[in-house]
Amino acid sequence: MSVALLAQADLQLPAVEWSAIAPELGPTAMALVLLLLAVVRTRPFAVAVPTALLGVALGGWLVSVGQAVPGAVAIGLGLVVPAAVVAFPGRQSLVQAFSAAASLVGALVLTAWQYLVVLRPGLDQLVPQEALAGAVANDGIALFTRLTVYLTALLVIPIGYGYLQDRRINRAEVEPLILLAVVGMAALGTANDLITMFVALEVLSLALYVLAGLARRDRRSQEASLKYFVLGAVASAILLYGMALTFVATGSVDIPSIGAAVGLVTTPELVGVIGLGLVTVGVGFKVSLVPFQFWTPDVYQGAPTSITGFMAAAVKAAAFAAILRLYLVAFPDLEALWVPVLAVLAAVTMLYGAFVAIVQHDLKRILAYSSITHAGYATIGVVANSDAGLSSTLWYLLTYAVGTLGAFGCVIAIERRRRGEVTLLDLRGLGRSSPALAGILALSLLSLAGIPGTGGFVGKLLVFQAGVASGFAWLVVIGVLSSVVAAFFYLRIAGTMFLEEPDPARGLPVVTTGLSFGVSVAATLVLYLGVYPQPVLEIANAAAALVR
């Protein structure tokens, strides 16, 4: 009798710690709602009203059980859809953009709530939370990655809105896909076993393959999408094979358990080593480390510019979150194997990106190569294999994301005038014809170049410091050399805007409210992170607390 009861108890489903994945729920639900809205098109209230009811009911229940913040977010998200439908009658795309942005704001609010209430209830140290039977780790990496990717997506939507409209590619699936991609990115940051990690990576990749090919009539966009898809699939396959071999070697897919298993043996098995190598190739592709970078320039150039900005800023942050977790939690004891390899890859990546960017003329290609260089810098923090290195990489990715978004936002404004590729010639005299836009672009570039006073400088400072502290002075010196080379092409862009006279034959850039909002926020963040980095740095430093 009692045995039967026990068996029954064992059969109960494991408890789901909703708080650990709370930020992802809002955007996921919103993606679904927006797709339904697109389906019912002519009768939006058929979707909006039930959404509101569901949101209010869920929120009310949450508030009644004492979860005021998530409750408020649920109510807010429920009400924002009908409100948007009423406010913008017949303008489906505007309703979508507003609702999607609102869900991202909600995700950011919940991320903050997690930081203050769940992970750090009045303590100095972060208390990592393991959830869903170990599949999800709600810890420092997860927290900071959420911050970066949600912020990026939130800025990309207003920046890209008018541009996508202009190119007539602002179809109903854009916002849902962006939301799904960003949820995939956040999930990648929280993934604590190899399976979850792979699924999250595929969720974000699939969404991005489609987004890259949004411009169906533009051959370059199609080329970008196909290239990204084929090469991405190959990389995913390699990564999956590496993960499988790791599982064979260690008998576990759970990342902390892999770490424990690796730590037990003195000589690593050959299978495990091959697994590690394949995993390195796979993730190297995703963050475009040389020599796995070859797809980046073409894809960045061909994809719609706002999507390129999104990919450059957010995918990098998410993929590096996975890299950090893999190397620092699963393989720290194999550092003799991967640290030298990654160090060399970082060095080659920094130099390659910087030198090749010099000879480019297309602005999107320049920024693509610059993104390759920055992947190298971020890798310095991984190679450092320390708490300081972890924090510095997370911080670096945040500063890189805001700087890159600011830059791509300005490129969009110029591209809309040109309706085609943007080269250096299009920037001539921009400092005179539209000083505000040129100023923001210059500021973003200075941040990417790492000039003091910008967030990028603090980022470089931190990764360099982590590298020096771990004995990688040679790598940091290479980083310095590549920074000087990179400064040359950033400066060339800035110089073209401010030191040359405008060409009256070329019209003014098109700046919409959304775009100016997005790039202004990005520029403000660049300055804020550079001048008073303390509050966010504190979060980055606390982020060194991981589920191990």
Partner: protein
């Protein structure tokens, strides 16, 4: 918030006001002039609480900034930095006044760039937190890049980029060294903490080299001086004055404040080499200056030569010579600054800088000729003017430490007389020929007003240099005590005396 912070913030505030004005015209110029004069007044006020007897850093302002990485906003001055701050705040209003009518394009941007530059330079001289120092040091690049690049001459763009990249490379290598020191100091950027770190000889060599590269580019020392002639020649007059007058001093100041006391063993080890490099720079700069056909390039190369004297004095490592090198930093700022102003005024009249295009101008424009002569004589270290009171003790000190270096450097002083006076002779004496020369107008009231304070100070320091020496000597002694040479030298002399007695 202490007086030092206020001095630093006034120009920043001025730049903010300029940013809020909506159009060019007279108002921005007045705003900038008032801001820079207020900064000068504030920096003069620093002299009141400053204790001349105290060799250490004083008037400390400290504000917690980024505790997460142990960086503070920490400002303080010693005699050396105060002297250089005064030089900076003295030159800035004159530069703004000198550009009053000549800059017509994007006036607000031009003035704001100078005010920001002034603030950054004050920050470099006053920072006692290594990260803060580095930030100010690198930040000077941005406004100077714009000043050269936007308001400069024909080849301005290349010159601006060259200037930026050279200095950035040096600076970033120094950043790596700073980060290493930060780790050794247990996660602190504070000057005292880093000073307390004890380093092995090998560590000192590498770190000294990194700091040296950064500062050598700035000074500039031969052979990393090649950015200077282009930058000086292409910059607008105000830019050249600030570059020569103030920015070059960041290098020699950095050596004295950071490289010497942080790495005493490496300093003593490398001192002979640096004396040699300094002498090469002195002679090379002088010889190349002699061959220039463009008067602005001539003065640019003379800077290479004169800054070589400053480095020579610094690495002679005696109280006399090293103090004199600080005094010479101020002197060079005044006399070369004045020369660049004169060249600028002449260029506005004639739109050429070729020495061959001028001749017999003394008859036509006696005021300018007279001022030019006085400033040239100051630059070539005529006794009674300020150049002499700096250069002579440097030569004396160098002679005591290394006879060959002293003798060779003295040739540099002779060559300075040659190239400056020869240029003066070709431009201002001889027959007055050609319509251009005959129609050249003499200096106006504003221009004389700009030059007069400079000439007054040049003469004042030349006649009575004691206050300046009193200001800088204690701080120089402190640095030398950190390097630990005073003691050794005294022992050497004792040994020599004993041998003599035998």
């Amino acid at each position: 918030m202490g007086l030092l912070t206020i001095t630093l913030l006034i120009p920043v505030f001025g730049a903010l006001v300029l940013a809020m004005l909506d159009r060019d015209g007279r108002t921005p110029k007045v705003v900038a002039l008032v801001a820079s004069l207020a900064t000068f007044a504030a920096s003069l006020a620093l002299l009141v609480p400053f204790d001349l007897g105290d060799p250490g850093l004083q008037l400390t302002d400290r504000l917690v900034w980024i505790p997460a990485i142990g960086a503070d906003i920490a400002l303080a001055v010693d005699g050396t930095s105060l002297a250089l701050i005064l030089l900076t705040t003295f030159l800035t209003p004159l530069i703004i006044l000198a550009s009053w009518d000549t800059i017509t394009d994007r006036v607000r941007g031009y003035l704001a760039a100078f005010l920001l530059l002034e603030a950054a330079v004050i920050g470099v001289f006053a920072a006692t937190d290594l990260l803060l120092f580095y930030i100010f040091f690198e930040f000077t690049l941005v406004p100077m890049y714009l000043i050269i690049g936007i308001w400069g001459g024909a080849a301005r763009k290349a010159a601006a980029v060259k200037f930026f990249l050279y200095t950035l490379l040096g600076g970033l290598l120094m950043l790596v060294a700073i980060l290493y020191l930060y780790g050794q100091a247990g996660g602190s950027f504070a000057y005292e903490d880093v000073l307390a770190v004890s380093l092995s000889a090998t560590e000192q060599r590498w770190l000294f080299a990194a700091f040296l590269i950064a500062f050598a580019v700035k000074v500039p020392l031969f052979p990393v001086h090649t950015w200077l002639p282009d930058a000086h020649t292409e910059a607008p007059t105000g830019g050249s004055v600030f570059l020569a007058g103030v920015l070059l001093k960041l290098g020699t100041f950095g050596l004295l404040r950071y490289a010497l006391p942080f790495f005493p063993e490496a300093t003593r080890e490398f001192a002979p080499w640096l004396l040699a490099i300094a002498v090469v720079g002195i002679l090379y700069g002088a010889v190349v200056a002699l061959m220039q056909a463009d008067i602005k390039r001539l003065i640019a190369y003379s800077s290479v030569s004169h800054m070589g004297f400053v480095v020579l004095g610094t690495f002679a490592l005696t109280t006399t010579a090293t103090s004199a090198s600080v005094v010479q930093m101020v002197n060079h700022g005044l006399s070369t600054g004045a020369l660049f102003l004169l060249v600028g005024f002449l260029y506005e009249r004639r739109h050429t800088r070729q020495i061959a295009a001028f001749g017999g101008l003394a008859k036509r424009i006696p005021v300018m000729a007279g001022l030019w002569l006085v400033v040239s004589l100051s630059s070539l270290a005529l006794p009674g003017l300020n150049g002499f009171v700096g250069e002579f003790p440097i030569l004396l000190g160098a002679f005591q430490v290394n006879r060959t270096a002293g003798v060779l450097a003295a040739f540099g002083a002779v060559l300075a007389a040659l190239y400056l006076l020869w240029a003066y002779q070709r431009m201002f004496h001889g027959p007055l020929e050609g319509a251009d020369n005959e129609n050249t107008a003499d200096l106006g009231a504003r221009e004389i007003g700009v030059l007069a304070p400079l000439v007054v100070v040049i003469v004042a320091i030349g006649l009575y240099p004691k206050p300046l020496y009193d200001l800088v000597e204690p701080s120089v002694d402190r640095v030398l005590a950190e390097v630990g040479v005073e003691v050794e030298l005294a022992e050497d002399e004792l040994a020599v005396d004993e041998e003599d007695e035998r």
